[in-house]
């Protein structure tokens, strides 16, 4: 209950990052990758993860310098009160947006493929409420929740990938750098933006038992999450081919559809996959929601964060309902993601440089 509890282990912290990163973004991921550089999709994904890793390492390095504070708090010491607060507010707005877009994106997936008559508002509000209820927990429960769900994220994806790989053709993945690699850079940024939930690291570090492990935690979690991303892209492009992947809105879901369990236990996996994927989306939402409410609490210097969880709900919900249709929504997802890269990668990078130049560090941790 008290602020001082530091009981999040390195494993749990990695689990938080992994399950935060793996979310609804996995569904359109191969489409983004293939749009950038057709058969070079896996490469783009790999580079995107590396790009995301750099941003996360900035955050982790900052966290290790200031092991008791989150970015909202230490940025004030580094660049002054008001500039830091202004950017902090931007960050909060950005994560509120990210939360709403995640909820909306998944709502669209559900409404398009499974619950066709259910209003998208209902699926969105259900997801958001689920996140809001769970965001009232303490940091250690938050870490437990993430840790518990990690297998539920990895197993279905790996299962589908393993089952579908027998239909994959190596030819579909060649040449590895793609026939038209012009869009590569753009694609790397798009993919890196899918990792932005990992920014939650900034509030995890102050609760970590040993903040010094933040670097390796970041490394491992990007390795797992990025590895999974690459594997998914390889499987999708390998099975469908780059040109077919381009035609699919959610290629990963389509891959689940094209896969059946041995012995026809389940004839197609898309419905089941989508159901299991609710957990992945939930953990992502929970993280960004938690991050938003905690940051808001820190920005406004309030003691009781729980009020915010429900206070935020209507705002996030309205934001989620803004895009008029699915095409607009994806436009918003991509644009917000790119703006977010500046906030979640460039800003911590700058802070780190300033901290380094001004030789500021947080109070050394007891242990």
């Amino acid at each position: 209950m008290t602020k001082a509890t530091r009981d999040v282990t390195a494993t749990q912290a990695s689990a938080v990052l992994v399950s935060t990163i793996i979310g609804v973004g996995v569904l359109p991921l191969p489409l983004f990758a293939v749009r950038a550089a057709d058969t070079g999709g896996p490469l783009v994904t790999l580079l995107g993860s590396v790009c995301a890793l750099i941003g996360l390492l900035f955050v982790a390095a900052l966290g290790m310098r200031f092991p008791d504070q989150s970015i909202i708090q230490y940025s004030e010491r580094l660049i002054g009160k008001w500039p830091a607060r202004a950017i902090g507010a931007c960050l909060i707005v950005f994560f509120a947006l990210l939360t709403s877009l995640t909820a909306r994106e998944f709502g669209e997936v559900v409404v398009t493929s499974v619950l066709k008559q259910t209003p998208v508002e209902v699926t969105v509000i259900v997801m958001l409420m689920l996140a809001a209820i769970s965001a009232r927990n303490t940091m250690s429960t938050f870490a437990y929740i993430h840790f518990f769900y990690v297998p539920l994220l990895l197993v279905p994806v790996l299962l589908i990938v393993a089952l579908s790989l027998k239909n994959a053709e190596l030819l579909n993945l060649q040449p590895f750098w793609g026939n038209k690699p012009e869009g590569m850079l753009q694609g790397i940024l798009t993919i890196a933006a899918l990792f932005q939930g990992s920014f939650v690291m900034t509030i995890v570090i102050p609760a970590m038992r040993r903040p010094a492990k933040a670097l390796s935690v970041s490394l491992y979690s990007i390795l797992i999450a990025g590895g999974l991303y690459v594997v998914i892209v390889i499987a999708v492009v390998g099975v469908f081919g780059a040109q077919e992947t381009r035609k699919l809105l959610w290629p990963t879901l389509e891959l689940a559809k094209a896969t059946s369990l041995p012995a026809n236990v389940l004839e197609r996996l898309d419905g089941a996959f989508l159901a299991v994927w609710v957990t992945a989306v939930f953990t992502t939402l929970l993280s960004s929601y938690y991050l938003t409410s905690q940051s808001l609490k820190q920005l406004l210097r309030l003691e009781e964060p729980r009020i915010f969880t429900f206070f935020l709900l209507p705002f996030v919900f309205v934001l989620a309902m803004v895009p008029a249709n699915i095409v607009k929504m994806y436009e918003a997802v991509l644009n917000v993601g790119k703006v977010g890269l500046a906030l979640t990668t460039v800003y911590p990078g700058l802070l780190l440089v300033i901290a380094w130049v001004r030789k500021k560090r947080g109070s050394a941790h007891e242990r």
Partner: protein, 416 residues
Amino acid sequence: MNADAPRPFRGIVRRTARACPLLLAAALLCGCWDRTEIEDRAIVLGVSIDKAPPEAENEEESVTHYVKGLGPPASDLIRVGVQLALPGRIPLGPGESGGGGGNDPQKTVWVVDVVGHSVNDALMNLQQELSARLFFGHLRVIVVSEEMARFGLENIDDYFHRNSEVRRMAWMMVSEGEALSLMKASPKLERVPSLYLMTTLDEGIRMGKFPQDYIGIYWSRKSKLGQEGFLPYVKLKKNQTLQTKGLALFQDSRMVGATKPLGIAVYMALKGNNPGGYSAFVKVNGTEVMTHVTHRESKTTFELRDGKPFFNFKMAFELNLEEKLNDELNIQDPTTIREIEQSQMAGAKKLIEEFIGQSQSLGSDVLGLGEYVRAKAPGYWNRNVRTKERWQRMYKEIEYKIDIDMKIRRIGMKAE
């Protein structure tokens, strides 16, 4: 800490408890939007699509188009036949008799057909007549008539590709003659006729009679730049059985021709698909034997020769001797075996050349040779090919070499 631990939690629980009736009320008031009981769905098992004659226009009601300016589209009319499962007619469990005539497949399903300007238009016309919502989650077979296929499948592909209920593991096939008749067929082996059509092809894969070519795979192949799709080409025979007549070759979405049944074997040989499932006559010393391919292996390599793509097909087969027509041959003699192998090699080469020749003349690269060029020589591809159209033209002129190695492994239970 323990003292006040439960307090905030209790607050949550109380709130949740308070929210629960609210949620329940909301749920009951708003209803269960998507709940459609399985027996209230019109489960579509098969769909057939034929071109309809222009005079069928009279049959059609304006369900999707009303005002003159807003449609109907200029495309020609199609006739869509739909095979619906009749709930209650198919008994639960493996009982033989069951309810109302489980033995007669015709009575377990209901075939209805409508006309329309597009697939969706036709299905909307049908929905207008049906009480239950059409449900495509169990659509296993789509049959398209040859006439329709030669006209082009863009609209059909698009509709089924877009519909989230349709599975990628369904079969799409081209029928010689009317497609609707396949829906109405009543084979005796399965309780549900369209499942029979599906089983024919699924088992074909397992017996080595047909390559994997689900609708999803067809779509993937079709969208590739250096490959064309193909579909099974079938015919309903007089015993109400389905004959796999060959491969229907496509160029883009248009069928351009069909191979002979042995063309399937050639395709599978070139692709190295296993198990082997075809037998062939081999002429040796004036008489004939039959051999059965049990195992195929194939490797396609590609090189640029004089600035042109050149392909090398290296294949290896394992055969079983299955039948002799008379006693003249002595199989115990190793030279005879070698002669059979030699003879079959020559025959196979001829078949392959014929197959590739046919596909070249049709401009339909079903083997996906263009993909080799794109994947292995991206520089060449980007300079010289780039688009699918250009590859279709180039494909007609490619050169290739065939290497075949045949080995007879077994001769059955008879010694000579």
